[in-house]
Symmetry: D2
Subunit: 442 residues, 4 copies
C-alpha cells in the first residue's frame, strides 16, 4: 500500500485509527450483550459506551505498550482502560483476542468490498456507455493477433461489460464469505461466553455469525476472498492489454487520453504511451501475487496459529487498495478513451477482403464442393493475396472471380455479396440484448 497507488477512502478503511475504533465498537457491543444477560452490570456497559465513544485512541501510546507486552490486543485494551476507568474490567469478558481482531477484519474487508463494488459499478457504467456509442463501429476481430473477421468495437466493450458483470457477482459472493462475526471465546467453544453475544454483535456490525469457529474465523473464507480479487485483477489485465494493443503505433485504433501538460518520454518528445493500461497490467500482477499467500494461510495448526496474521496485515490493505486504485483508473481510461473509427476501417481493409474467407468457404460447400476441396480453393487464393504488397483493397474478390473452380460454383454477384462487411453485424442487437438486457439495448 503505497500512496502513489492509493485512494483516500480505501486507505482510511485500513488506518490504525479505523481499526481501533472498530475494535472498540465490538467490545462495547459485546458489553451491551453481556449486560443484557446479566453477566456484567448494565451501567458498566453504558459507561463503556459513554467513555469509549469520547476516547481518541493514541496509536503511538498503544505501540509503546505493545513494545512491552508484545501483544497488540492487550496493548489496546490497556490503553482503552485508561479512558474507561474501573469499568474497564468488564470489557472483553469471556472473549479472546481473535474475537475482536477477526470480527474487525471482517468489517474492514466488507467495507473494502463495498468500495470495490462501487468501483465495478462505475466501470460497468463506463463500459455500457461506450459500448452503445460504438455498437456498430466496424473493426477487425483478431485471433492470434491476426486479422480474422469483422466485429464492432461495441461488441468488444460488451464482452468486457459481460466479464465485469461476472466480476461483480463474484465479488458479492466473496463479500458474503467474509461477512462473518466470531465471539466464541478460546478455541471457539463458547465455554466462557454465551452464543447470544455473538448474535448480538454480529447484527450490530452488519455481519452473520460464524457457524463454528476455532478461536478464529476459518481462513478458507479469506482465501476465497483474495482468490476472487485475483480473478478480477486478471480481467482488468485483459482489458488493459486490449487497450495497449489498440494503441500500438501500427494499429492505433484507440488511445488513452493524453492531457495538455503531459509528457510521454524524457528523451523522445513525440511519445504518447498507454501508461495507464500498462500500470494496470502491473497492478494485476501484484493482486494476483497475493492469492497464493492467502491460500497458504488456510492450513493453520489445530485450533489456530498466528502465521496468517503478518500475511493479512499486508495483503488486506495491499490487495484492496491496489485493486481500488486500478479499477478507478481503468474506469477513467474507458470513459476518456479516444477511439479512431477511421483507422479501424482502414485496418479492416488491409488484407484485401481476406476476412471474408469463411463466407466463401461456406458458399462453396453449399454449392456442392466437399469441405476439403472448398478449403483448398479458398486457401489457394487467400495465400496469393497474403503475399501481395501495397494496397490490397478488393483483391481477394477479384482473384476468386478469376479462379476457374470457384467461378464454376459461384457467380460474380454471389461473390460480391459475400464482401459486404456490415453483414457481420447482423446479430449485434441479439448480442447487446443478451448482455445489457432488453430495455437497455434499445
Amino acid at each position: 500500500m503505497i500512496p502513489r497507488y492509493s485512494r483516500p477512502e480505501m486507505s482510511a478503511v485500513w488506518s490504525a485509527e479505523t481499526r481501533f475504533r472498530i475494535w472498540f465498537e465490538i467490545e462495547a457491543h459485546a458489553a451491551s450483550a453481556q449486560a443484557n444477560l446479566g453477566v456484567i452490570p448494565k451501567d458498566a456497559a453504558e459507561k463503556i459506551w459513554e467513555n469509549g465513544s469520547k476516547a481518541t485512541f493514541d496509536v503511538a501510546r498503544i505501540e509503546e505498550i505493545e513494545a512491552e507486552v508484545k501483544h497488540d490486543v492487550i496493548a489496546f485494551l490497556t490503553h482503552l482502560a485508561e479512558f474507561l476507568g474501573p469499568e474497564s474490567r468488564f470489557v472483553h469478558q469471556g472473549m479472546t483476542s481473535s474475537d475482536m481482531v477477526d470480527t474487525a477484519f471482517s468489517v474492514q474487508l466488507t467495507r473494502a468490498a463495498d468500495l470495490l463494488l462501487a468501483d465495478l459499478d462505475d466501470l460497468l457504467a463506463a463500459l455500457r456507455k461506450r459500448a452503445f456509442e460504438h455498437k456498430t463501429t466496424l473493426t477487425i476481430g483478431r485471433s492470434h493477433g491476426i486479422h480474422a473477421e469483422p466485429t464492432s468495437f461495441g461488441i468488444k466493450l460488451a464482452q468486457a461489460f459481460s466479464e465485469f458483470s461476472r466480476a461483480r457477482k463474484r465479488l458479492e459472493a466473496a463479500r458474503a464469505e467474509v461477512a462473518v462475526c466470531q465471539i466464541s471465546g478460546p478455541v471457539g467453544t463458547f465455554a466462557t461466553i454465551d452464543p447470544s453475544v455473538e448474535a448480538y454483535v454480529a447484527e450490530k456490525m452488519g455481519l452473520a455469525p460464524e457457524p463454528v469457529s476455532s478461536q478464529i474465523i476459518p481462513r478458507d473464507r479469506h482465501a476465497m476472498f483474495f482468490a476472487t480479487l485475483g480473478v478480477i485483477a486478471s480481467s482488468m489485465e485483459r482489458l488493459a492489454i486490449e487497450i495497449r494493443h489498440l494503441q500500438r503505433t501500427e494499429v492505433l485504433e484507440a488511445e488513452e487520453y493524453f492531457s495538455a501538460g503531459q509528457k510521454g518520454s524524457s528523451s523522445m518528445p513525440h511519445k504518447r504511451n498507454p501508461v495507464a493500461s500498462e500500470n494496470i497490467t502491473g497492478q494485476a500482477r501484484l493482486v494476483r501475487g497475493m492469492v497464493t499467500p492467502a491460500l497458504e494461510n488456510v492450513a493453520l495448526w489445530h485450533e489456530r496459529d498466528i502465521s496468517h496474521s503478518s500475511v493479512e496485515r499486508m495483503i488486506g490493505p495491499d490487495a484492496t487498495v491496489t485493486l481500488d486504485y486500478a479499477l478507478h483508473r481503468l474506469t477513467g481510461l474507458i470513459e476518456n478513451l479516444v477511439v479512431y473509427p477511421e483507422t479501424m476501417r482502414a485496418n479492416l481493409e488491409m488484407l484485401g477482403g481476406l476476412h471474408n474467407s469463411q463466407r466463401v468457404l461456406l458458399a462453396l460447400t453449399q454449392a456442392g464442393l466437399s469441405r476439403e476441396a472448398a478449403y483448398k480453393a479458398v486457401q489457394r487464393n487467400a495465400m496469393q493475396v497474403w503475399q501481395m504488397q501495397g494496397d490490397r483493397t478488393g483483391k481477394f474478390a477479384e482473384l476468386l472471380k478469376a479462379d476457374p473452380e470457384v467461378g464454376a460454383a459461384l457467380t460474380s454477384a454471389q461473390i460480391d455479396e459475400m464482401f459486404n462487411d456490415a453483414d457481420h453485424l447482423k446479430h449485434v442487437d441479439t448480442i447487446f440484448e443478451r448482455v445489457f438486457g432488453a430495455e437497455r439495448a434499445k
Copy 2:
C-alpha cells in the same frame, strides 16, 4: 495426471476417446439445429448422427493427420469425414474450431465437477458420522501448538464439515461458471451461424449459452473454476495437517488406519507414518500451483489467442484428477481414522489444569479485581506450574488456593468448580445444530 494418483472414472472424462465423442455430439447437434433452420438438408443431419454414432474414432489416425495439417480440429473433422461420406461437407457449417473445442471443454469440466461434488458428499458424510461419534470426546484445543482450553474431537470434525460445506457451495458456483456453450462462429459475431444453433446445442449438452463470446468462452470463467479448486485443496491440506499433528509420536491422539501387510519404513520396522495425509498435503500444493497459470490465461489477446490451450491440456486433467484422488483418499482416511480418547484425556491433563486459566481470570475480575491485577495473579501461578517437571495433575488449582491474593477473592470450592472440564462442552449442542441443522443434531 499420473496413474498413481488417478481414479478411473475421472481419468475417463479426460481420455482422447471421450473428447472425440463429445466433439462429435456437438457437431451432430449443431447439424440438427442447422437442418431445423433449413441451412443444411434434414437427411444430411440424420446421416451425420447415424454414421457418426457408429464410428470408432481412431486416436492414432487423427494424430497422423494432425502431424500434417498441424491443427487438431481439422484432423478430427477429416477423420470424421471418413465415416460420414459426402454428408461430411454439412458438418461444422458456419462454426469455428473453438465452438466445438470450448464447448467440449465445458462438458468435461462440468462432468469433472460432478464427480468432485460426489467426492465432497462422501467426505461430508464421513465427517458427519465421525463428528457425532466424538461429539463429547474431550480433547485439548491448541492455539500456536500450545495447549489452550478443552474442546471435543467432534467439534474439530464439525469445523471440517462446515469448511467442506462451504467448499461444496463454492464448487457448485464454479461449476456454473464453466457450464456454458458457445456456437458463435469466428470472432463470436454469429455472422455465419444463427444464435438459435447455440441455444439448441447448449440445451442438448446440459449447458447455458455464453451471453457474448469472442470466438472463445472468456477465460475468467475457467480462472474462477481453477481458483476455487485451489481453495478446496487448501482446505484439504488443513484437515490433512490436523491428522498429521494428531499422529505425532508425542501426541498420538489419532492415527491413520494401518493395514495388515503395510510397511512404514524400509529401514525402521517400527514406523507407522501418516502417509495418506502427507500425500494429500503434497497434492494440495499441486492443485494450488495450477491457480496462477489459470489466472494468467485470462488476458488473451484481442478476440483470442491460443496460449491458454497448452495450459488447459495439462491443468484440466491434472487439477481435477488430483483433487478427485485426494478427496477420495481423505474420505477413506476419515472413515477409518483410529481415535484414542484415552490419550486425548491424558494429554489434556498434562499442564496440571492450566487450560482453565481464563476461567480463573474471569472469576477474579467478577470478584472485583481489575483485569490487570487478575491477569498478573493468574499468570504468576500459571508460570510456576509451567516450570514443574513430572506429573502436574491438579497442581494449578492447588497453587491458586494457596495464593493469598486469589484466596482472598475466591473460596476453595469456587476454584474447584472452575476445573470441571465437561463445562467446556456446555454449548456443543448449539454448535452441532448450527453446523448440521436441527434434525441431524439430535
Copy 3:
C-alpha cells in the same frame, strides 16, 4: 507430462524403467562399498552386480507388491530379491529408502539438466546465426508498443542471446545444486552406514556428497532448481511474445514458418497464426506454476516428511519435459523464422521521422536552448505529425525547418543530418562484441 508436449529422450529420463535401473545401480554401488569395508562379503557384492545387471524389472509386478506393502521402495527391493536370491539380504544394508530415492532423483534431475543445457546451446546457436544475419537490418524500436527510435533486428536477437546466455549459466548453477548424493541412513546420522559409502556411491553416480542430510537431501536445493526453470521459462515467454507481436497483421515484420500442408484455421482459410510462439507462451505459464509448489516443499517437518514426494512425482517430469519441448520448439522457430526487412523499413517510416525527435532535442539544447524550451519545441511539431493522416514520410523534418524557434537554432542541413537512420546503428559492433565476444563479432 503429456505426449503432445514431450520429446523421447527427456521422457526416457523419467520412465519407471530408468528409475528402477538407477535404483539398482545405487544399491549395487553401495554394496560394493560395503564389501570394501568388510561389512558384507565381497562375493555377495559381485553377485548383486551380476544378477541385478541381467534383471529386467517388471513394473507391473512391482506395483502389485506395492499394493500390498504400500511402500514403493520395499516393493522394489522385494522384486529385486527375486533376481538376486540369497544375496538379497546384503542389499540396502544400513540404508534408508530416501538414500536410494533421493540420490536417484538427483541423477534424473542432472540428466534432465544436461538435456536442457544442450537445448539452450541449440537455441543460442540459432540466435547467434540469425543475429549476425540481421545485424544491420534496420527496424523501429518500440517502447510501450509505440515507435521509439530505430534499432536493428540483429540487436533484438543479440538481446535474446544475452538473456539465454544468462539462462545457461543459471541452469548450470541449478544443476550443481541438485547434483548431490545422500547415503546416510535413518535421520542422516551415518549410525548404520559409514560415510565412505556415500563418497563411493556419489563418485560412481557423478554426484557430490551432501554435507549434511536429514534422511533426505534438503529441499531448498530442489526449490532453487525449479525456481531457475521458472526464470528460464519466463525468458522463453519474452522471446515468444516478441515473435507474436512481430507477426501481428498490422506489423508483419516476421512470421513463423508455415509449412505446405498446414492449416491455420478450420473456418478461415486465410489464417497464418503464430501458434508455436503462443504454445510456448502457455508452456511458460505451466513451468512457472511449478515454482511455488517447489518452494512449498522446502519446509518439511523435522528430519523429513513425505509431502514433497507427490509434488515431485509430477513436477520433476512435467517441468523438465515441458521446458525441453518448448526450448526445442523455440529453437526451430528462430531457425526458420521468416523475416521481412522491407516491412520493417516501411513501418519505420510510418511516423514521418518522429523517431528522430530526441536528436533534434539534443541539437537544440546544444545550440543553447534550455532543456524545457527544446522539449516544448520538439513536442509541438511532433504532435502535429502525430495527428496527420496518410503518408507522413519526411513530414517531421519539414515542419521543424518551418518552425521559427527551431529554424533560428538549426540550419536546414543540420536538421537533415539528424534524419539519417543508419546513424542509429553506429555502435552495433560494440554491442555485438560485448554479447558474442570479439572473435565471433567479426
Copy 4:
C-alpha cells in the same frame, strides 16, 4: 512495507530521498563522463556536481510537478534544474529515463542485498554457536512426525547452518545478477550517447555495464533476484516450523525466549506461544508471493513497456524489508532459544527403544536371516511395544530377548549393545567437519 515489519537501515534504502540522491549521482557522473568526451563543457559538469551536491530534494515539490507532467523522471529533472540553473540543460544528455531509473534500482537492490548478506552472516554465526553448544545433545529424530532414530540437536542446527550457507551463496549470485548499470539511450543503441559513459558511471556506482540493454535492464535479472529471495524465505520457514514443532506442549524440547513483561494471550494467562516463528512463517509466504509477479515482469513488450514498474515499486521494498526483518528476528530467536535437553532425553525414551529397530534388523540379517524374515521379526515385536500404554522404557529389548526367532540369532548381550543411544552420534565429528570446516569443528 509496513513499519511493524521494517528495520530502519533497510527502509532508508527505499526512501524517496535516497532514490533522488542516487538519481542525481547517476546524472552527475554521466555529466562528468560527457565532459571528458567533450560533449558538454567541463565546467558545466563541475557546476552540476557543485550545485546538486548541495541541493535538498523536495519530495512534495517533485510530486507536484509530476501531477502535471505525469512523468516522475521529468518531474525530478525539472526540480533539479531549479538548483542547477542554466547548466541544467547539460544534464541527462542523450540519456533516457530508464538509464537513470534502472541503474538506480540496481544500486538500491545491491545495497539491500548487502544488508541481507549481513543478516545471513549474523544468522549463520548464531546457528554455528548453538550447534556446537548442542553438538552431542541427544534428541530423537523424527520422520513423518514419528520417532525414527536418535540424532543430536546440534546436528539439526548444523543442517540449518548448511542450508543458510547455500542461501548466502545464492544471494551473492542474485546480487551479481542485478549489479548492472545501463546508460544506453533510447532503445539501448547508444545512438545518442557513447558507450564509455556507461562504463564510467558503472564503475563509479559499483556496478558492471549491462552487455546489451533495450532501454531497460532486462527483467530476467530481477526475476532471478526475487526468485532467490523466495527460496531463502522458504528456508527460513523451515527453521521457524522446526521451532514451532519443538515448542508444542507435548514436545517442549525448545522454546522461544519469553521476556519479563510479555503476555501470551489476552484471555489465557498461562500461554507462552512461539509467536516469532509463526510470524516468520507468515513472512515467508509474503516474500514467496512476490516471486510470481517478478517472473511475470520478464516478458515485457518489444524494447520495453512499463508494466513492471508498479510491481517493482512494491516488491522492491516489500520483499527486501520483510526478509531483512524476518532474518533479523530469526537470528534473535536462535540466539536466545531456550533448549531443554532433559525433555529431549525423556521424549527419546517414549517408545521403549523402538528407535533402535533398524539396528536389530541389520544384526538379524548379518546373523543369517533373510531381509524379509528379519523385517517381520522386528516389526512383530515393535508393534507390541507400540500398543503398550504407560512407561515403556526398555520394553523393546525385553521382548526381543524373549522372541524365539530373535533369540536364536542374537544373544542377550548383543541385543543390549544395540540399545546404546550414544552410538548414533559416532559420526557427529565427521558431519560437523563437513559443515563447519576442519578448524571450527575442533
